[in-house]
Each structure stands twice: as structure tokens, then as C-alpha cells.
């Protein structure tokens, strides 16, 4: 996988499989510290300490269709190859948090890629779940929280085509603003 946004999509699938109803994704870039941090946290079934230990082990999976689980090992590899690291914390019945840290300027650091494509895919496929996406760059930030959108939408579902295109439009506007303003300050 050549984009961090695809790893995000994959790690969020774990949260969905764990029965999560709310998944928070954050991408935080700090140019001075030269870091890019991705955090995915969910309120799914969580893992016991025993399970958590085995997840760090590649090839651990609770799926029955295939014996190997590659999602977390691949994400860890992507982080470590760019001089970063991956951490997972989890509590049964509470949820799970996956945090990856990357060295932002490292040659092997994959591009963030189409995060908007990942977010809209997740919402379109799971209109009944809540996603909160937060992105920050050097302390400035924007966020999209489907639970807030729902409050406005009432009966209209999130996967309504007009709603979906509003979400994509809002995302692109906000992320342009975020990266554009930095260019001005440089």
C-alpha cells in the first residue's frame, strides 16, 4: 500500500469488525518536530492483555477465513521504515487506540494520499457509524464529526448523495486551507 490513507482505511476496518459505533481518526503534523502522527481510536470490543500481546506478533488474527492477520504488522512496518513506531492500547469492553508516529521528512515516509477518499468510503459503507476526523498542522486544525452532521440532518441519512458530496467538498476546502496557510507563513 502506497498511501497512509489506505492504511487508515484498513486499520479502521478492525474497529468496524470490533463492533465500534464511533471511530476517531486524527492526523497531526508538526513541521518543527518533524513528526506525523496518526491515531485511530474506537469504542469497539477491545482486546484482553493476552490478545494485545499477540497482536504485536505478525500473523495473529481472530478471523477464521485466513490464518494470518497482516493489517497491524503492515502499518507498524510503514511506521518503522520511516523511523517511527506504532503503539496499541486496548481495554476489553472499552475500545482500542492505535497510534503510529512517522518521521515526517523521512525518505521512506509514505504520502498521506487521498484521506478524503478514505473518509467518504467509510461513511458511504457505514452510514450508521460515527466517524470523527481531525487533522492538524503546526497547531491549526479542522475536523469533521458525523455525529454533529447528524444533529443537523435529522432524518436524512449520511449516505445521501448530496450529503456525501457536501462532506467531500467541505473536507477538500478545509484541508486546502490548512496546507495553504502554511505556505503563506513560510
Amino acid at each position: 500500500m502506497q498511501e497512509l490513507s489506505l492504511y487508515i482505511l484498513d486499520i479502521v476496518q478492525n474497529s468496524i469488525s470490533a463492533g465500534a459505533s464511533r471511530i476517531e481518526i486524527s492526523v497531526d503534523e508538526d513541521t518543527a518536530a518533524d513528526t506525523l502522527a496518526i491515531e485511530i481510536s474506537d469504542n469497539g470490543c477491545g482486546m484482553t492483555e493476552e490478545q494485545l500481546k499477540r497482536v504485536s506478533d505478525p500473523f495473529y488474527t481472530t478471523r477464521t477465513t485466513r490464518r494470518v492477520g497482516m493489517g497491524i504488522p503492515l502499518f507498524r512496518l510503514a511506521a518503522e521504515q520511516s523511523g517511527g513506531s506504532l503503539e496499541i492500547s486496548s481495554e476489553p469492553g472499552k475500545g482500542t487506540r492505535v497510534s503510529a508516529r512517522f518521521v515526517r521528512s523521512h525518505v521512506n515516509r509514505l504520502p498521506l494520499g487521498d484521506v478524503c477518499g478514505t473518509l467518504t468510503a467509510l461513511i458511504r459503507l457505514n452510514p450508521n457509524l460515527d466517524f470523527c476526523y481531525m487533522q492538524s498542522l503546526d497547531g491549526r486544525s479542522f475536523s469533521i464529526d458525523t455525529s454533529e452532521l447528524r444533529r443537523i440532518l435529522g432524518d436524512v441519512p449520511l449516505d445521501n448523495p448530496d450529503v456525501m458530496s457536501w462532506i467531500a467538498g467541505y473536507f477538500n476546502e478545509q484541508s486546502e486551507l490548512l496546507s495553504g496557510e502554511t505556505d503563506q507563513t513560510i
Partner: protein, 123 residues
């Protein structure tokens, strides 16, 4: 203490299930494999192509959902199409370029695109 957000999530979930029950009996279901194998093989652009095509044609009776790994990773992206009253059709190695024909021939006109199915791709 229960939060308002929680209450709204419960309310929306109940509404969604009502809609799903209705959809299950009438709607065509397009199910895309979204496990690690599917995503790394290109499931995201395939999904977006389906969504675009379905919206372009204003198809109201199609539900797009996801599934995990079904154990045939080498054939991902895999898309399963369930038309009510018909056998499931499994498409393998789907690309965004194949999607308009699957939507036109299969979802609209009811004729599965045999050359894109897993049986043909395996040969």
C-alpha cells in the same frame, strides 16, 4: 449519565435497521471486500467507481456494503452482487474500468458480466 449524542446514535441505528430490513427484501446489494487484501489490491477506487456510477444513473434500489476477507485474497478486489431472487454473482480482480459495465449490464439490465466473474478470471 447518558449523553444526547448517544441517544441520537441509538435513534439513528434504529432508523437504519428499519431501512435495512426494507432494503434487504427489495434492493440489489453490492458487497465489496474491504480487508487488508482487498484494500491493497484496489478496493477503494472500485468502491468509489460503483458509488459514482450508481449515483449517475440515480439507482435507488442498490445498497453498497462491505465485507472482510473471504479467503481468496489473490482474486481481490472481489465484489459480490446479490439480486433478490437470483444466485449471488462474484466478480474478481475488479477495476474501476470494469464497473460501468457491471452497473449497466448487471444492476440495470439483470445480465451478469460473465467474463468478469471469478469463474472466468480463474481460468
Amino acid at each position: 449519565m447518558k449523553s444526547l449524542a448517544e441517544l441520537q446514535a441509538i435513534r439513528d441505528k434504529a432508523r437504519m435497521q428499519m431501512q435495512m430490513r426494507k432494503d434487504n427484501s427489495e434492493a440489489i446489494r453490492v458487497v465489496i471486500g474491504m480487508a487488508t487484501c482487498g484494500i491493497s489490491a484496489g478496493a477503494r477506487p472500485v468502491l468509489n467507481a460503483f458509488v459514482q456510477e450508481i449515483e449517475k444513473r440515480r439507482l435507488e434500489n442498490v445498497v453498497v456494503t462491505q465485507t472482510g476477507c473471504i479467503g481468496m485474497c489473490q482474486f481481490e478486489p472481489i465484489v459480490e452482487v446479490f439480486v433478490p431472487g437470483k444466485d449471488k454473482v462474484t466478480y474478481a480482480k475488479v477495476t474501476p474500468e470494469k464497473v460501468p459495465r457491471i452497473v449497466a449490464d448487471h444492476l440495470v439490465n439483470g445480465n451478469p458480466v460473465m467474463e468478469y466473474t471469478i469463474g472466468s478470471v480463474m481460468k
